[in-house]
Symmetry: C2
């Protein structure tokens, strides 16, 4: 590509060995103890025991976009990771990750050419939800001399992408199986909109319904003489139900490593107690009134799509409003207000798009910076 | 700094000479004809004529974060640009911009040290809204051997940062003027929350009130024997009122170069007809139902803080819902739906935080890529 000079190289807001309180702001802070605890809790939850078969874990890397974190997940037992974009997968392969499911449709000649090229360098699988896309994938795979693994994406209730369960899914599975450049690898059956239903009962009901759609469709496919190795799906909010439903073979939770303010509003009874490992460190940059302080983390440091960030560990402070570079925090009557220059930790409203705004995870253990991990695939949206 | 390997270098979604329809997606598309028209309209609006004195134009670079665009604005007559962050200003100085007002408070020893270091390389002014911050700026400036220009930020109605008009502002101006490391340069009096009041009458009323606060405060400062060269403020939604109020000497509009879906909801009677120069190019990646298509630009390609993006030029399509990597678009009954793989242009809901998610402006003229401009200060939030 005829690429002009790239933007200036990225300086990090911290150095290794620095106390947390000296880290420049805004910065994405990862508490390594809590992060490792979350990893261990998920590994434990998916491992089989006498009463329950184990499930394959393939965490979603769209939450972290980090080769370091992906490799930590794989070292802990994950089979690989999920990505949403070809460029995201490219960045992680470059970072040393060798087994990736792109659980999304890849459409367009340029992207498909990159996809099949990547499939020569690592184990890559992709989803499809239309015969036209299957045909394009097949042509490209044959041209590149790879046999590409393809899963059909099933709409199990999210009403976003996906082929409908039953006969339409069977027809699409047959199209994949009949394509010499492709290998039919199974079904992606993720119910995204179920993850943030607040009650356990509502999430269980949604996933029970999704599981039945996946089960019936798998039976149709098997009855047609097509092997269906993998049924993959699940998120942090629901993965116990997919684990125990008898259909899913692989689980894709992503947010469990970090958690966020939106997930904290869910009811979690019976789930592992994932901790909040990810925060945004921010500085009080103005104290204009007794009932208001302003911090330096606004819309460009924290995504508010799922609500405002929460102030951690300081009851009486509420993050009310974000503008591009400012956050306005109210100070309740009787609350001691933070001073000018004081640093606060914010719980992101939604971890995935917040991480994507940052270039570095500042990794902290017991208040000291231990590592700087780049957000390897930050901005990789192609 | 002890900086580990930076993230992978950034490939661009286009090459020069490519037709727009071949640009990979999602991508930020800048229509150069419309952009240049917007530049000319603003230059014309701030220029003096027989009946009206001219105003200094200092466009806000937080909208574009681009050295190329800043230099185009300066070549067209702007005195310099505004920034919100020290790191943003550093990136633009590195890109060749030599006159920057940081219209924000800079708090904390690390940031202030960078600020005074930058003031040795370019003309840099900064805002302050507290005596404690003025004292810290003074110490750092004296230590670095620079005389730093400081404006006091006045709260003229936005209830975010800023000192209150009248006696508190006078006291702060005196503190700046009495600081040997600082030069009191005037007042920053920006009314951010007025910019998106929909009616002309409401915006005019808010700015009239802001102007009167700035006028009375300036008179107090002048009466105390302190020169007050600059009164700076205004945004795209209101700048005609600051221009004509007889108090502001400098105007800071930012969004006029791009425009966005939120600004398009304002009433614009009497204002120059700025065009929509900025779009997000996106691909239809799934056509799962007759009344729904899904595109590849979601929350990580387009900020929804001020509402969803709009589909340009295709009545009957409505962008309903964004998830991390997907946009769900409804297709009204009787509307011809776009096909799988077809590309659509979206009008961003809010241009500033959307630009900050991208690494490149793909600059197009009459359907052909003419330039790739890096988003020079993308992610520069310190």
């Amino acid at each position: 590509m005829n690429t002009p000079t790239a933007p200036a190289s990225l300086s990090a807001p911290a150095t290794i060995g620095m106390p947390l309180v000296q880290v420049d702001t805004p910065a994405l802070i990862l508490d390594l103890d809590v992060f490792e605890h979350n990893l261990a809790l998920m590994n434990e939850a998916v491992r089989g025991d006498g009463a329950r078969p184990g499930k394959r874990l393939r965490p979603h890397a769209k939450s972290h976009k980090s080769a370091d974190i992906a490799k930590a997940q794989i070292a802990g037992g994950a089979a690989g990771v999920c990505c949403q974009k070809v460029s995201e997968a490219e960045a992680l392969v470059l970072g040393g990750v060798n087994d990736i499911l792109i659980c999304n449709e890849v459409v367009g000649a340029v992207k498909i050419a990159r996809l099949v090229a990547l499939a020569k360098r690592a184990r890559i699988a992709v989803c499809a939800d239309s015969a036209a896309n299957v045909a394009a994938l097949n042509v490209a795979a044959l041209g590149a001399g790879v046999r590409l693994e393809v899963l059909i994406e099933l709409d199990v209730g999210a009403a976003r992408c996906g082929v409908m369960p039953g006969a339409p899914a069977l027809a699409l599975a047959k199209a994949v199986a009949a394509s010499p450049g492709l290998r039919f690898a199974g079904m992606h059956a993720y119910h995204g909109s179920a993850q943030h239903l607040r009650s356990i009962a509502a999430r269980r009901a949604a996933i029970t319904e999704a599981t039945e759609k996946a089960r019936a469709t798998r039976e149709l496919i098997l009855a047609a003489g097509i092997a269906c190795d993998t049924v993959t799906g699940a998120g942090t909010g629901s993965f116990l139900f997919e684990r125990d439903g008898g259909v899913y073979t692989e689980l894709q939770p992503g947010s469990y490593i970090f958690m966020d303010a939106d997930y904290q509003l869910n009811d979690w009874e019976g789930f592992p107690a994932f901790g909040q490992s990810l925060h945004i460190l921010t500085t009080v940059m103005s104290t204009p009134a007794p009932d208001r302080v302003v911090v330096d983390a606004g819309l460009k440091a924290s995504s508010i799509d799922s609500g405002m960030p929460r102030v951690a560990g300081w009851p009486g402070l509420e993050y009310l409003k974000a503008s591009d570079e400012h956050g306005v925090i109210s100070v309740a009557t009787g609350t001691v207000a933070p001073a000018l220059g004081e640093k606060l930790l914010l719980v992101p409203g939604h971890c995935d798009p917040t991480v994507n705004m940052h270039d570095w995870f500042v990794c902290v253990r017991q208040g000291v910076v231990k590592a700087l991990w780049p957000v390897t695939a930050r901005g990789m949206m192609w």
